[in-house]
Symmetry: C2
């Protein structure tokens, strides 16, 4: 069966009806220590479930072979089979890992994603990719697997810390920039430290759902979602090398600034639109430490990325706000120039 | 792309041409210590490959999380990507594990099965199922994944020990009994301790390929392949409980005898055909130790099997030689009677 999607206020309640009507032989729930405390009680309010959840420690470290083994062993002990369902209640770590465990347990049992972070609600939990980190490489193993249901309910964002919220917003901005001018205009009302109306989040989630639906295996249009992520990943790789902590959304915001600048320098993005993007993103996101803008480390990373070939980097640029274009060739020299220009975006140079 | 199949004498050479024409960015080979010694040299003769294989210890123990981790780490270190290919050269352990590792590495890289045991050539390596054993449960995790090529070459059977050969023959008999009267008639010429003409093996492999093609997810016709495996698995579970070693093919041969007997007792199998099956299988396979025919342990296992529901056991029976029927209800009492009758098949009672 295809994925059923519940979004917006009341999504969780609608999902509860769906679970009941499906009469699964068993329901198991995967959480981390945070979502066990803050999110599971809300889920228990709407579904009749008295079991103990499968619990993992908070953080990326759980997205490992050990975490996977823990989940598989729990699924075995609880005797779940293809007539049961695993509910993944948490951020991207829980949905990525839980999706991988479920899609391989007995060669695939039904599973449901209930993302509880903004980042997972608009990005990580959408798109049928599951995975864990092996050998220190993010998502080096995984599957393409569709959850039976996806539940995006704003109720879970109420307990989200401000920094997490703002980090997740980077993907919301991204979705608007590549595909939805109207959402971009609405987002003008967003202020750091406050949350968005649920409708905006829902709109952002639906942009990704739609793109993934058109191109599930990322052969074409889905690549749009990498906007801001080429130079954003370069920043993250420098951070990793130097042991500096940077949130994914902050790195992506910096990546979007640099890639929008390149879109104006090399592509079709009008000066006025570049100015608007610069104004908006520098208002919401603090400037990154210049230590993170190390072109030698960052560009070496891009050179090894599987998406790039023959010394030039394939990047998503913007033709205009709301319209991204894939597979643009950018030279290493031009990437270097973007990193060099970045601090100036903040000083208005 | 769909699976390319090379079978019969010369299959390996035809496969070598296919590999060359595909210009994979990297070729890696997975073997166990036996196939590294006996089979890899033959493969090296036909493909231009100077690398070191990924090597696992011989035996089911390698089909574990540790074995999987070892293969994933090797694939990472060797920097293989979606433009490369992993060749699984070995018996069912290597094809099951290698298929699972490849189908999840970077969410799926191309892979090829070159089964080197008779059991793998006619059964394990065919059918798009991959898996490892977790928590002591066989194939408790895995994927449905199609290899890019399957190579069934009789050259590898030359070094196979007699017992292994005879064990693999059980699946050849099974394929003929459920789907091919003509192959059953040919198999009258088989004598334990000797090998079959390659054409018979090829025919058996093609029966499975055909059935799997019609019903890849085992919702219907593919269940035919479980003939002999309900009571065969019951025997294996008793063996496991009591620490007795029994080859898969020997257990399946006993299972086929009991299930053919039930087909005659409860179903449509004519007395003359049951007599022919009994004569043939008791001639090739030694009688099992009566210790393995423990109904209490064996039937408790069947009761927990995911295929069965509500106290009755769903089994494949034979309507006639060459025609199996799925989803026949057999009671626990009737299973017990079959185990009780088994020794009599050998004494001619």
């Amino acid at each position: 069966m295809g994925q059923v999607t519940f979004t917006g206020p009341g999504a969780l309640r609608d999902f509860a009806e769906w679970v009941t009507s499906n009469s699964f032989s068993r329901v198991e729930i995967l959480v981390d220590q945070h979502t066990a405390e803050f999110c599971l009680p809300r889920l228990r309010k709407v579904i009749d479930w008295a079991g103990d959840p499968i619990v993992l420690p908070v953080g990326e470290e759980s997205k490992s072979i050990d975490g996977l083994h823990h989940v598989w062993m729990n699924l075995l002990d609880r005797k779940i089979d293809r007539h049961g369902v695993l509910i993944n209640l948490g951020g991207g770590v829980i949905t990525d890992l839980g999706g991988f465990a479920a899609s391989t347990f007995k060669r695939g049992i039904p599973f449901v994603h209930i993302p509880t972070s903004l980042l997972a609600q608009v990005d990580a939990a959408i798109g049928h990719k599951t995975g864990i980190d092996v050998g220190g490489v993010k998502n080096s193993v995984g599957t393409f697997a569709e959850p039976d249901a996806l539940v995006v309910d704003p109720v879970f964002l109420e307990t989200l810390p401000d920094d997490e919220y703002r980090s997740g917003m980077a993907e919301v901005f991204k979705h608007s920039l590549i595909a939805d001018r109207n959402l971009w205009d609405l987002l003008d009302g967003y202020r750091a430290g406050r949350s968005c109306p649920p409708g905006w989040i829902q709109q952002a989630a639906e942009i990704k759902l739609h793109i993934v639906d058109q191109d599930p295996r990322e052969q074409n249009r889905r690549k749009l979602l990498n906007f801001g992520h080429s130079l954003g990943h370069a920043v993250e790789s420098v951070a990793l090398t130097k042991g500096i902590l940077v949130r994914h959304g902050e790195a992506v915001a910096a990546g979007m600034l640099m890639e929008a600048w390149l879109s104006n320098q090399l592509g079709n993005l009008a000066q006025s639109e570049w100015d608007a993007i610069r104004e908006r993103l520098t208002r919401v996101y603090e400037p990154l430490s210049t230590k993170l803008l190390d072109p030698d480390t960052g560009i070496a990373f891009l050179r090894n990325d599987k998406k790039n070939r023959n010394g030039s980097i394939l990047m998503v640029l913007l033709d205009q706000i709301g319209k991204g274009v894939i597979d643009r060739n950018v030279t290493e020299e031009q990437c270097r120039a973007a990193m060099h220009a970045y601090p100036g975006f903040y000083s208005g140079e």
